[in-house]
């Protein structure tokens, strides 16, 4: 049983302290639903909890570029609840990718605390972080980042190969299911270089979802796609968020994609906008 599941069954339901809790400039999901409906939905869904999935407290990160120091994050605070479909919007160099990397345990902040499912990720070893990413997170990248020598199904299967409790049959079933979710069930034996940009990104999304993660982090997933395809990808992400209740955190600088997003976090020069 995963740690997150334990917390859900053992912990009680708590309501978030909504006003001001997420920091200035952040739209609360409860602005969109009444409290009662939200509570009912949470109880009905069962796996949702008021405990944040991700929690950042006063996180700072500075990069050194030659002789110059760049403050990528300047004391950000953030809470992401389970089931959110959140976009992090900002110009290039605003700190979006740094924020996502820190949430995804790919990078380490200089100071502050980062918690995933109530547990700090800063004290984890590299192997523990790898395990956490494999079991609880999925990643979608701007350049798709598919392995060119693996077929579509083999690319999607990659994260599952680390889960030794799964039999080959179980892996195959999950891969098929993931391919169906993204509409690529007929492309199992195709090579990535034979696919369009949109198809490749679907493969990447399927790969991110195949392990049934709690959180999917997508860093500029539509940046290399034309606008029509970009919209379709965002729609897909939204559908998956709704149907599978996976929390999505993605970064973009394209305002036109905000239509399906439930929550928008604006960031500029390493800080959230007020």
């Amino acid at each position: 049983m995963s740690e997150s599941t334990k917390e859900i069954t053992e912990g009680g339901l708590t309501f978030p302290d909504l006003p001001g809790q997420f920091g200035a400039g952040v739209d609360s999901p409860d602005d969109q639903l009444s409290n009662g409906v939200a509570t009912t939905l949470r109880v009905a869904l069962g796996s949702m909890t008021d405990k944040p999935l991700v929690s950042l407290s006063d996180v700072r990160k500075t990069y050194r570029l030659g002789e110059t120091e760049v403050q990528a994050l300047r004391g950000v605070n953030l809470r992401v609840l389970p089931g959110e479909f959140t976009a992090i919007v900002g110009a290039s160099g605003s700190g979006k990718s740094t924020l996502l990397n820190i949430i995804g345990c790919i990078d380490i902040p200089d100071s502050g605390n980062v918690e995933f499912e109530g547990r700090s990720t800063l004290g984890l070893s590299e192997d523990e972080k790898s395990h956490l990413r494999n079991r609880s997170m999925g990643f979608v990248f701007q350049s798709f980042n598919l392995v060119p020598v693996l077929t579509v199904s083999e690319n999607i299967e990659l994260p599952l190969l680390l889960q030794k409790e799964l039999s080959p049959t179980q892996r195959a079933e999950r891969v098929l299911s993931a391919m169906s979710d993204v509409g690529l069930q007929d492309y199992a034996k195709q090579w990535p270089d034979k696919l369009s940009g949109g198809q490749r990104q679907r493969v990447a999304i399927a790969r991110a979802l195949v392990t049934s993660p709690r959180l999917v982090i997508a860093d500029e997933p539509t940046a290399n796609l034309d606008s029509a395809t970009a919209h379709r990808i965002v729609d897909l992400l939204a559908e998956l968020n709704a149907s599978r209740n996976v929390t999505f955190l993605f970064s973009t600088h394209d305002e036109k994609l905000m239509g399906r997003v439930k929550r928008i976090i604006r960031i500029q020069d390493g800080a959230f906008e007020t």
Binding site: N101, G104, I106, D107, E126, D127, S130, H131, R133, N134, R135, G138, F139, F141, S143, N145, V147, P148, V149, L150, L158, P159, L161, L162, K164, P168, R207, A208
Partner: protein, 452 residues
């Protein structure tokens, strides 16, 4: 954990991904392997040739037993530093306890002059029992490694003339120096007349017609001694420095000339594939414990076979230098292969890390690729090597290395053991350097990897 077949399949696909570039890396390793294996093949051949020459054709045996200090002093004080019949009995008894001994043979060595009546040539004679001498010449290893030294004109030996008690075998060079080109089979079975005037050309010409000579020496008791002899065979020692003086005689014939029953040393011939050093250690222990007063030498001792020891030491040194050069090239090739491959796939590595792969797992992927590259390269190298060896050996190139009498065929001996040893060495060095490089490469932060 990932299925083993999938991991290797992944490695092979990545190898094929940049086929042209990896082919060049593979070719570099393959040719490096070929160079090492061919060097090894030459060493194997030379070692076997010289070892057979030392052990069998120069009758050192795998191990030779002398009276204490006898090796240094037997020529100066022959009566004192030789093995008496009692010594021979004692040693024979002891050697029966060692099953790896194929056979033993006693040899008497003495020096003197070979005379035609008009020309004298110094000799260093070895007296051997006819049957043992024949057994040595017909040994499977002699036929395998030095067939040219028992082929015509060296195909006759004392052992095939058992009825001629005073038959001797001389080298082609002595035959020339003495002006005695004929052997028993080709010459009239008569003794040439006494020539009192060596300036008489007709008389001298008669000397060349017959195969008889006379041996003159100082007996072990100090007396002046002489004996008749018939040249029944020509032989080659295989070594230039001994071609001018080497003669073989029947043991009893030589013992008669030197007026002794002794032998100079007892040669022990071991069964093929027996370790000489292992036998030597055990035998020396037993010998010193039960019967003291003897020195025992392996054939590769520089006092017994100076040419063998010197040549092999030289070749081994040269080969080691060559090995280091080639292995360095292989290391550079592997490291370059890994570095370029890793640089190209940084983002891929970052992606794998982000979905849960540890640096160790990623290093394992590259390690498998290196392993496949080395494996395929060594297989390719083995094929190239085999082809080269077949071509070289079929050309039957004759050459005269320094110190070798006449010419010898330039041949290479490639054995499975040699190929495997070289492959293991290349593999060990290549994979060690791969692992060291990978530890450095895969330790990079994921963020940096994802940036490409």
């Amino acid at each position: 954990m990932r299925d083993s077949t999938q991991r290797w399949s992944f490695a092979l696909r990545n190898l094929i991904r940049h086929a042209r570039r990896n082919l060049i890396s593979g070719a570099a390793i393959a040719f490096g392997f070929t160079g090492l294996a061919l060097m090894g093949a030459y060493l194997v051949r030379t070692d076997a040739y010289l070892a057979v020459v030392s052990v069998y054709l120069n009758q050192a045996g795998h191990v030779s037993i002398y009276k204490k200090d006898g090796l240094q002093k037997y020529l100066t004080y022959p009566g004192k530093y030789t093995l008496s019949p009692q010594d021979q009995l004692r040693l024979g008894h002891l050697l029966r306890e060692f099953p790896e001994v194929e056979f033993t043979a006693g040899f008497l060595i003495g020096q003197g002059l070979l005379s035609t009546g008009c020309r004298d040539v110094p000799f260093l004679a070895k007296g051997i029992d006819d049957k043992k001498g024949l057994r040595i010449r017909e040994h499977s290893l002699v036929k395998k490694w030095t067939p040219g030294l028992i082929a015509p004109p060296y195909d006759k030996s004392l052992g095939i003339y058992p009825n001629i008690g005073d038959g001797i075998s001389i080298t082609g060079q002595i035959s020339q120096m003495m002006g005695k080109p004929k052997i028993w089979d080709d010459a009239p079975k008569a003794v040439s007349p006494v020539v009192t005037d060596c300036s008489d050309k007709a008389a001298k010409a008669k000397l060349a017609e017959t195969a008889d000579v006379q041996m003159v020496a100082k007996a072990f008791n100090g007396d002046f001694s002489a004996a008749d002899a018939f040249i029944v065979a020509h032989h080659s020692t295989g070594l230039a420095f001994s071609e001018e003086t080497s003669i073989f005689t029947n043991l009893s014939h030589l013992q008669k000339l030197f007026q002794t029953q002794d032998i100079t040393y007892l040669a022990v011939f071991l069964k093929p594939d027996t370790s000489t050093s292992a036998f030597l250690d055990r035998f020396k222990q037993k010998l010193d414990a039960e019967v003291g007063g003897y020195d025992v030498y392996p054939f590769y001792n520089e006092k017994i076979s100076p040419f063998y020891a010197g040549v092999m030491e030289f070749l081994t040194t040269m080969a080691s230098f060559f090995f280091v050069l080639v292995l360095t090239t292989i290391i550079i090739t592997i490291v370059s292969f890994l570095t370029v491959g890793f640089m190209e796939r940084r983002r891929e590595m970052g992606t794998l890390r982000s979905i849960g792969y540890t640096p160790r797992m990623i290093a394992g992927d590259f390690f498998r690729e290196s392993t496949l590259l080395i494996l395929l390269s060594t297989i390719g190298g083995t094929l190239i090597c085999s082809l080269v060896v077949v071509i070289v050996n079929s050309l039957q190139i004759q050459f005269s290395p320094p110190g070798i009498a006449n010419t010898m065929p330039f041949m290479l001996t490639l054995t499975p053991k040699l190929c495997f040893s070289v492959a293991a060495l290349v593999g060990a060095i290549g994979l060690s350097s791969a692992w060291l490089k990978l530890r450095k490469l895969t330790g990079e932060p994921i963020v940096d990897l994802l940036r490409g």
